[in-house]
Subunit: 134 residues, 4 copies
Amino acid sequence: MSGGLTYAEAQKAIEAGLAKADEIGQPMNIAVVDAGGHLLAFARQDGAIRASIDISQRKARTSILMNLPTGDLLPLVQPGQELYGLEQLSGGMVAFGGGLPVHRNGELVGAVGVSAGSVDQDTQVAQAAVDALT
Amino acid sequence: MSGGLTYAEAQKAIEAGLAKADEIGQPMNIAVVDAGGHLLAFARQDGAIRASIDISQRKARTSILMNLPTGDLLPLVQPGQELYGLEQLSGGMVAFGGGLPVHRNGELVGAVGVSAGSVDQDTQVAQAAVDALT
Amino acid sequence: MSGGLTYAEAQKAIEAGLAKADEIGQPMNIAVVDAGGHLLAFARQDGAIRASIDISQRKARTSILMNLPTGDLLPLVQPGQELYGLEQLSGGMVAFGGGLPVHRNGELVGAVGVSAGSVDQDTQVAQAAVDALT
Amino acid sequence: MSGGLTYAEAQKAIEAGLAKADEIGQPMNIAVVDAGGHLLAFARQDGAIRASIDISQRKARTSILMNLPTGDLLPLVQPGQELYGLEQLSGGMVAFGGGLPVHRNGELVGAVGVSAGSVDQDTQVAQAAVDALT
C-alpha cells in the first residue's frame, strides 16, 4: 500500500508507546505518520505538556524527511558543524531524539515521534512503539 | 477541570466516531481537542483523504474558538454577510460543518472535528463521537 | 515502492506535458509529486509566468491531499456551497483545474500539476502528462 | 538577459548533476533557479531524502540572494561571528555548502542548489551542474 503503515498499525504502535510511558511514569505525546509524513494517529496522555503536540508530530515528520532517527541530527547541526541551521529548513525540523523512522523490507513505511519527557525517555517510548510494528 | 476532557475520554469519542464511519462506509479523519483547543487524540482511517488531517483538527479548534458547531458559521461568512472573512482569522478557521463543541454542566470541555466525507457524513460522525461523552 | 512514482516516470510525464504545451503554444510550469505529495520533478518553460511555480506545485499537492482533480473542487468552494473556504485549509490548496491525481491499480501513486495558461490549457497539458504514465 | 538561464540550460545542468550523483553513488535533489531566484527545473532521484526538496531549492535561492556559494556563509553565521542569525532572514536561507551562483560575463544569471548527501558530495554535484553551463 502506497501510504505505508495502516491506521490499525499506527494505533497499535501508539498503544505500545503509551504502555511504555506508563511503565516509566512520564505522560507523553505520541504521533505516528505514514510514509509521506502525514499523520495517522496521535495521543496525548493526561499531564503531558502541550508544546509536545507539535514537537512529537515534527519529530515523526523529520524522521520521514531525513530518513533518520532525529537524535542522529544533533551533532550535525551544532555551531561549527556541517549542517548548522538544518533544523530551520523544510518547514521546521527537530534535531534531538524522540523521532524514529519505521522500515520494512528496507523501505521507509512510516515514523513515530514522541515528546514530553527527557530525550532518553522520549526515545525509549518511541522505540517501544516501533518495536510493536516489527 | 481546566483542561476539560481526558485522553481516555478523547479516545472513547474517537472510537465511537470510527464505528459510525464504518457504519456509513466513509473513512474519516477524527480529531478531539481539550478545552483550550489543543489536540488530545487523532485517527485517520485507511482511505480517508489527507487534506482532512488539517481540516478535522481545525474544525475541532474552531468549535473551541467560537464555542459553536462549525456549521453554524457557514451562513455568517458568505459574501455580503456580517462575518465575511471570519474563517481567515484566528490562525485559520473552518466555517462548514463537522466540528462540534462538547459541553458538560454548561461548561466547554472540549471539541470534536471530523472530515473526509460530505458535510452531512462528517457531522453524523462528529455527533456520534460527542454522544459517547455524554 | 512506498513513494509511488519514480523520478524516471516523473520526468517522462514532464516531457509529455512539455510536448503538449509546445503543441498548443502556451509555455507552462509542470510539477510532478509522489504519493505523499512531495516534489519529484519540475519544469518551467521560457515565457511561463512565475506565479505558476507555486500554483502548479500546489495543484499537484492538492490532487494528493483531496485524491481528486483540482477542477472538481471549483463548484464546491463557491459562496453558499458546502465547502466554501476549503482552499484556504491544509496549507493552501488550489480549487481550479490543472491538477490531476495518478492512480495505478486503484492506488494513488502521484499527481501532476500544470499552470500558466487558461484552465482548459492547463488541464490538457496535465492530462498529457498523466497519459504518459498509464 | 534579465531572466538569465533558459529552461533548456537548467535541464542540461540538472542532467550533468544527476550524472555526477550517479557516479558518486549518492541520490540527490537538484534545483536550478533563474537570475531572480525563481525555480526553473528540479529533480529528486529515487532514494534521495525528502527534506532536501526544500533545502536544495533554498540553497539555489540563497546563492542568488547573497550572490555567493552557500558554503561561504558558514563561518560568518556562527555564534559570535558578524552575521550570526543571517540564515533566518530573507525568508530563510541556507548557510552550508551545496548552492552555487552561475555567472556569465560577470553577470549573475542563475544558481544551482544540491542536497541529500554530505556537504562535500552536494558541492561536487552542484559544481558539475554549473560546469555544464559554462
